[in-house]
Amino acid sequence: MLQALPLLSVAPLVAAALIILAIHRDRAAKYIAMAGSVLSLIIIAVVVLYYVGGTYRVSWFSLQGYSFNITTSVLPLNALLLALVGIVTPLIFLYSFGYMDTKSEQSRYYFEISLFAAAMMLFAISGNFVTMFIAWEMLGITSYLLIGFWYAKKVVPDAARKAISTIIIGDILFLAAIIVLWSAYHTLNISSLLSIAGSTVYLKVALAFILVAAFTKSAQFPFNEWLSDAMEGPTPVSAFLHSSTMVKAGVFLIAILLPLYVKAGMLMPILAIGLITAIIAVMNALSEHHIKKILAYSTMEDLALMFIALGFNAIFAAMLLFVVQTFYKALLFMSAGSIMKATGEENIYKTYNFGFKTNKLLYISTIIGVLSLAGIFPLGGFFGKLGIDTSASSMYVYIALVAIDFLSSVYIFRWLYLPSRKDSYLSSFGYRTVPRSMLAPIAILAVLVLASGLAYFMLPMYYAAMPKFSISIIDSLIETVLVLTGLGIAYILYSRGRAPHVDASSLEYKLLHNSFFINAFYVYLLKGIELLGEGFDALNDAINSVINGGAYSFILLGNALKRIENGSINTYAIAFAAGIVFLVIVFAMNLIK
């Protein structure tokens, strides 16, 4: 039965159940959720340390003699994701203690987020597509609920709807892929599918479906628009969503299926979409004002970089960034949340006085996160970005990648410098009131970010299957110089009081912040669908009237016939005579025949 141990890691599910049963006790909710997450962390630690490689399956239902199972497997990649989720979850919950303190509906929040965590853990350990699809859909739905948590705010319902509308495309395609794969191979077991020989049309179709599904979850072009809107959710949710869960699911899915994509020769689309998305993300991040949305675009970029690495079949590079990004992105989101809480402001141009003096711990931790994201040696981000750069086997792509690195350095330092500007008229008191329950996870994450560079050395120790890339000095130098240049430019532009302001109406903004007009495309697409709907509604009415008219014609006929029934005995007698004549004619015709 120890084989079933990984299943226990979804302890937050139990917590969620407990919370909803004790729904009236808002106070207990957070402790139950926390207990669940800590329990799952312990179980995950045991699983990751001692049970890697184990699989466990239990039959769910069977069809035509083939069994649909709930399968868990803890292969190296699964263990990696599981560990990340396990570590981040309690930190997020702890951060929520402070962040969500004044908000009501605690039990709803902790119910939804526990369910979300459980879904991600289930996703991490799923060994077949059925299990994975369950987790996948749970993720989509719970993220929808979480993004829409503050539904009473004006823009929130639409933001949540945008997310779910995009995600549902992936859900349906995932289902289609499952159907195709099952029909073609009669198995949905991932390890069995990885070992199938040859590439068929159906395999390619299924892989294409899965790829698009992954793009929707990971907010890659052209499904990138929901991610920035999703910032309407509570900040702990954003931190959770963007670090280890949800958006990582897409990358993870492609990563474990990478051998199949190699076999089917389908790496090119992954690379191409990754590049496009990265460019869009960087452009948007440079022009964005919203403190969390900049980070959201940064996440989009990170994910795009991972896809690029996957597109070069460089799984180690992708996974390294996967790991280090988790920590620094969680850290930065938490910092952003703290700044927002301290100042009550979301626009970085209107945020001031964030600095060493106002909150030491927060400031230092944030700088660690920023440096890691920018890619300064020896922080994790450095290794992560370097890995991506070196994986590029094409010169053009390499140039594009280092350019992206440079620009991301600019926007992240912009993100740091703008709030750090001094404004003596504004009070900086808010920074000191950030509660400890929020600072503690930030500090822990800062330590993890500092240590995350070690992942470059540790990952291969655990997972021999991943060929490590070697660090070349030239690459490192190029990167470091570019990052430092970016830092310098950002310092010059943004560290002073009157930083250049990019208006939403300005040309620069329009050039940078257009996501290649994909949003406009969707607007027109929806308009088109609505018009189509109107057209069909009219058609429907027309069909209705045609059929009604057909039925009504009987009534018209009846009214016409009513005229013979005029009550006159003459008419009736004539009709009688006419009847006889009619019969004679009919008989005559019969006889002639």
């Binding site: 069977s62 369950i134 009473a152 709807r161 609505e530 429907n540």
Partner: protein
């Protein structure tokens, strides 16, 4: 052995008589008690079939001995699932109707409709099938014209006109089958096993007639015009029963038709095309609806089209999927209509433009609506997932990738329904306060339906084992 069928029919008949004779204040309890007994008996039938793998049967007297027609009932694997669906929806409808709101007529008609549905799904011969079909039509007609909203009379007449067309085609088809079979017979099991012996020409006539009849009832484009009016103008319970159960008369018939007439295989590609058109048509028409019940009606039509995809695939899995789809559709749509009814009660309006912030007034209503959407869009662990999975596996193996096209309609429906959620259910801004709240009875109705939506979604092996046997 417990005589399940006898108890079911006795409970329903007794319920009808008592509800008609006793005072109004007893109506609700009579309805709930009778349907509860039915539900228990049907679950017993399901349990019995799951454990022993044998069909539950009941035979009584000779109805028309000259035609070899007996009044006999059988719970085949297909009927067992539909019986379960019917019993659950009936119970939920009876439970949710509320003590004050249930009139004598409503209770009588609901039980009469239940009698028709249970009878139809367990008929062992086509004459009984036809009889219960027509009783169902009559009960529905009264249900719409007696308990509906403002335009109920025109909706009822429209329903009637379409149903009559369907009944006419059905009756002629049934008579043709009788004289087409080598040993003249109305017995469904016999016809299924000997259908291929009917001459091809007659088979074609039969197929066309019955296909039209069942198409009207499901309904499938272009014979669906009665549906939106009937579903919309009925009372909440009426909508639940009509959309959840009556539409299955058509779907069940369609399934039988494909089993009985081997000629169906010849047309399966065209039928897939029709089903796909119908699915997209339904969802595209739904987009422009502002009446929430009308919108759900078209979503229901979409789901019925998806069920037709499963049937048209003529594969075992597709067929099993369509059976499961009928279960899923029955429970899911009944839930959505119940929720829509509560919302109408809360705001006194069905207009999506007017409904605002349902979640503030009644969180359970809002969440039930969302859970209903999950089932409709095939989210795993709901009953809808198993249905979609099986249907499209069948469709894929029969038609290749073309078989997956109707998934696009489900996608659109999902997007549309979430739009409704964001605009009406959770949008609390610049709206009106809900003057009324849903009753406890309605909430009880939600929980019954949700319980089974998730029970059959999480434990699909129970019914799949029965269907597979």
């Amino acid at each position: 052995m417990i005589p399940e069928f006898s108890i079911i029919f006795a409970a329903l008949t007794l319920g009808i008589v008592l509800a008609a004779l006793l005072e109004k204040r007893f109506s609700y309890y009579i309805g709930v008690a009778a349907t509860a007994i039915v539900l228990i008996m049907v679950l017993l039938i399901v349990a019995y079939e799951y454990i022993l793998g044998a069909n539950v049967m009941a035979q009584t007297y000779a109805y028309i001995p000259q035609f070899g027609v007996h009044v006999s009932f059988i719970a085949t694997p297909i009927s067992a699932v539909l019986l379960a669906m019917t019993a659950i929806v009936l119970f939920a409808a009876a439970l949710s109707s509320g003590r004050e709101e249930t009139s004598k007529g409503a209770a009588v008609l609901m039980l009469l409709f239940g009698l028709a549905a249970i009878g139809l799904f367990s008929s062992s011969n086509l004459i009984l099938f036809f009889i219960f079909w027509d009783v169902g039509v009559v009960a529905t007609f009264f249900m719409i014209s007696y308990m509906g909203s403002a335009n109920r009379r025109s909706a009822a007449l429209k329903f009637l006109v379409y149903s009559l067309g369907a009944s006419a085609a059905l009756l002629l088809g049934i008579i043709l089958i009788y004289f087409g079979t080598p040993v003249h017979s109305f017995n469904i099991a016999y016809i299924i096993s000997h259908g291929s012996l009917i001459p091809i020409g007659i088979q074609e006539s039969i197929f066309v007639l019955l296909f039209v009849a069942f198409m009207i009832k499901m309904p499938i484009f272009p014979l669906h015009s009665w549906m939106a009016d009937a579903y919309t103008e009925s009372s909440t319970q009426g909508s639940m029963l009509i959309s959840g159960v009556l539409s299955k008369f058509g779907a069940y018939g369609m399934l039988l038709l494909f089993l009985m007439m081997p000629i169906a295989a010849k047309y399966s590609t065209y039928i897939l095309a029709l089903a796909a058109i119908s699915a997209f048509y339904a969802v595209l028409v739904a987009i422009n609806q502002s009446d929430i019940k009308r919108l759900i009606s078209y979503i229901s039509m979409l789901d019925m089209s998806i069920i037709l995809v499963g049937i048209a695939s003529i594969t075992v899995i597709g067929r099993e999927g369509s059976i499961y789809g009928m279960l899923a559709h029955g429970l899911g749509i009944a839930l959505l209509f119940l929720v829509a009814g509560s919302i109408e009660g809360m705001f006194g309006s069905r207009s999506i433009k007017f409904i605002r912030g349902v979640v503030e007034g009644s969180a359970s209503t809002a969440y039930s609506f969302m859970l209903g959407i999950f089932s409709i869009t095939g989210v795993p662990l709901t009953v809808g997932f198993i249905a979609d999975l099986l249907i499209f596996i069948g469709a894929f193996s029969a038609f290749g990738l073309y078989g997956l096209i109707p998934l696009g309609a489900i996608l659109l429906a999902g997007g549309l329904l979430y739009l409704v959620v964001s605009r009406s259910i959770v949008n609390g801004r610049n709206g009106t306060e809900a003057p009324y709240l849903p009753t406890a009875a309605q909430k009880a109705g939600y929980s019954v339906l949700l319980l089974f939506i998730f029970a059959f979604g999480m434990l699909p092996f129970i019914l799949l084992k029965i269907i597979g046997s």
